[in-house]
């Protein structure tokens, strides 16, 4: 199988330096890896290159399809041509699924972009998702003209899917069902609105990025196995600034990351009940009331609390919130001792930041390093301190 111009020596392919084709000589697995970076349509085109490329589209670990590309430049669906194109795409995926010895022909990840509000496009998207039966599924919602972004939509997960990411660009999160829902382990939802939560009994990791949450956070029964929760909020684009309470009750949760961007909503209260929590990262979410129950005092040993502000509120509020949270993590320590113990690990920064209109704004930030504060050494000395107080 040596290509013209090259030679084999002791099992080593010596590449010719003449600008000839070297890529075809690569094993199918490596060519498939290269093709994985291309849209699936182009991967199918690659199968026309020459004999060694003939089955390349059955072997790319990643399949990328943008159903929006199947639209005509006017953005209109022309039913007949679309149907023909979708049928061809689906036939290719079906043949791939039926490929014997389906080891390397199994789709590892499917990336699909479609409009959830075009019935025809969604129908085909659902079929493509089912045919690919990918372990990882990434959906990007495509916005075609002015559509109602608050319309509910459903997503049927195929049996192999373990990880799902949805980038919703302001749309609602889907309700998740289908054979894969019971097995889903990792869910990420980005830039959108959550109005109801799906029951996902195997979920371990949940990431919410720039998400507006309008539903009460569900109890442990909804996600009994959740270990890792990252949340970052955004406010709705309308100026509707209703204050909400948030509560997280998760028996298996080990990591909680709460991150807020600019223009976020403050919480009236935040309740956390997570007996197995080990790591807490809290960025910039301000709340008037905080109620933290993490089981054993001092069981959270890693993380950070960071609060950034400009103008609006003063330092005192931020420090008070920080101390309320630390109090939740170390409830048995008297207030003064806690303040003494925490002081060396809290830093205060003041700096100028360029805002969108080019103006310089003074920002302030206080940060508490939980790793340092809660390190075993520190805990031991805290316990001593406590004993001294008690005696």
């Amino acid at each position: 199988m040596a290509e013209p111009g090259g030679r084999w020596r002791r099992g080593l392919w010596i590449a010719p330096g003449d600008g000839a084709d070297h890529i075809t000589g690569l094993p199918l697995e490596l060519r498939a890896r290269i093709a994985s970076f291309l849209p699936f349509r182009q991967v199918v085109q690659l199968s026309s290159l020459s004999r060694p490329w003939r089955r390349i589209h059955y072997h790319t670990p990643v399949v990328r399809v943008k159903l929006s590309d199947f639209l005509f430049p006017t953005g209109e669906m022309l039913a007949l041509d679309e149907e023909h194109a979708f049928a061809g795409l689906e036939a290719a995926l079906l043949r791939r699924a039926e490929e014997p010895g389906s080891g390397s022909s199994k789709v590892k990840a499917l990336e699909i972009r479609y409009s959830v509000h075009e019935p025809l496009m969604r129908h085909h998207a659902d079929r493509i998702i089912a045919l690919a039966d990918a372990r990882e599924l990434r959906i990007e919602i495509f916005i075609n003209g002015r559509r109602d972004s608050s319309a509910a939509w459903a997503l049927d997960l195929p049996p192999s899917t373990r990880a799902l990411d949805v980038v919703a660009f302001g749309h609602l999160a889907p309700t998740i069902s289908g054979p894969g829902a019971a097995a889903l382990e990792n869910l990420g939802f980005h830039i959108g609105v959550v109005r109801e939560w799906s029951r996902l009994p195997s979920l371990r990791i949940l990431t919410l990025e720039l998400v507006t949450v309008q539903a009460p956070f569900p109890l442990g029964a909804c996600w009994p196995l959740l270990e890792d929760l990252s949340r970052s909020w955004t406010s709705p684009s309308s100026r509707r600034s209703w204050k909400r309470s948030s509560s997280v009750v998760a028996p298996e949760l080990e990591t909680l990351v709460v991150r807020c961007g600019r223009g976020h909503e403050d919480y009236r209260s935040f309740t956390l009940q997570a007996p197995r929590l080990r790591c807490l990262e809290w960025y910039n979410q301000f709340t008037e009331r905080v109620d933290i129950d993490v089981g054993r005092p001092g069981s959270v040993t890693a993380g950070v609390i960071e609060l950034v502000w400009n103008g609006g509120r003063d330092m005192k509020d931020r420090r008070a919130l920080m101390m309320r949270m630390l109090k939740g993590l170390l409830p048995e320590l008297p207030q003064e001792q806690l303040a003494d113990a925490a002081r060396p690990h809290i830093t205060h920064d003041k700096y100028y930041k360029v805002h969108c209109h080019g103006e310089l704004v003074l920002e302030e930030k206080i940060t508490c390093d939980l790793d340092a504060l809660m390190s075993p050494l520190q805990l031991a000395s805290l316990n001593d301190l406590q004993n001294q107080v008690q005696n």
Binding site: D21, H22, I23, L30, F37, L38, G88
Partner: protein, 174 residues
């Protein structure tokens, strides 16, 4: 924050290993850099490559190996940081600049690199080179790709097959 000492805690002196290319050139490199290769990491953890022994790499020539090690040395500090969550934007931008320049090379070198990265199981380098080749052909028609990759001109039979393919998979060409 100080990076944790890798390996045997040799009082600051980084542990070195020797790699021997297919054409018998010896390369001495820090174990932390060589360990970006999953294959080498196992050998190194077993205590190989130290002293006068060296690890023979019969599938990698010296020109390719020096290129591979250039990548490993540049990426080792970030990799030791566990994907570098603490890396500054400047560090990340510098790595990106390095990567872009690193793959700005002849196709035959890309080919040798992708094979070496595969054999040595260097995940980041495999992706980097694969993406570079993909970028070279992205958005091009099959005929343009043949030219880009240096295929010989198609024989009449190949041309006929390409035309037939276009008819059969019309949806992929529109």
């Amino acid at each position: 924050m100080a990076a944790p000492e890798s390996g045997d805690g040799n009082n600051g002196a980084a542990r070195m290993v020797t790699l021997i290319s297919s054409d018998n050139t010896r390369f001495e490199v820090e174990a932390a850099a060589a360990s970006l290769s999953q294959t080498l990491q196992l050998t190194i953890l077993d205590g190989g490559g130290g002293g006068g022994d060296g690890i023979p790499l019969p599938n990698v020539d010296s020109a390719t190996l020096s290129k591979v090690l250039e990548y490993c040395i540049k990426h080792a500090p970030a990799a030791a940081n566990g994907g570098a969550p603490n890396a500054t934007a400047v560090d990340r931008a510098e790595l990106e600049r390095f990567d872009n320049e690193f793959v700005n090379i002849d196709q035959s070198v890309l080919y040798s690199l992708i094979m070496a990265a595969h054999n040595l199981e260097i995940e980041g380098l495999q992706s980097l080179v694969a993406k570079k080749v993909a970028d070279m052909i992205k958005g091009k028609s099959p005929m343009e790709i043949r030219r880009t990759l240096g295929f010989p001109d198609p024989t009449p039979e190949e041309q006929a097959e390409m035309n037939a393919h276009m008819l059969e998979y019309g949806w992929a060409y529109e």
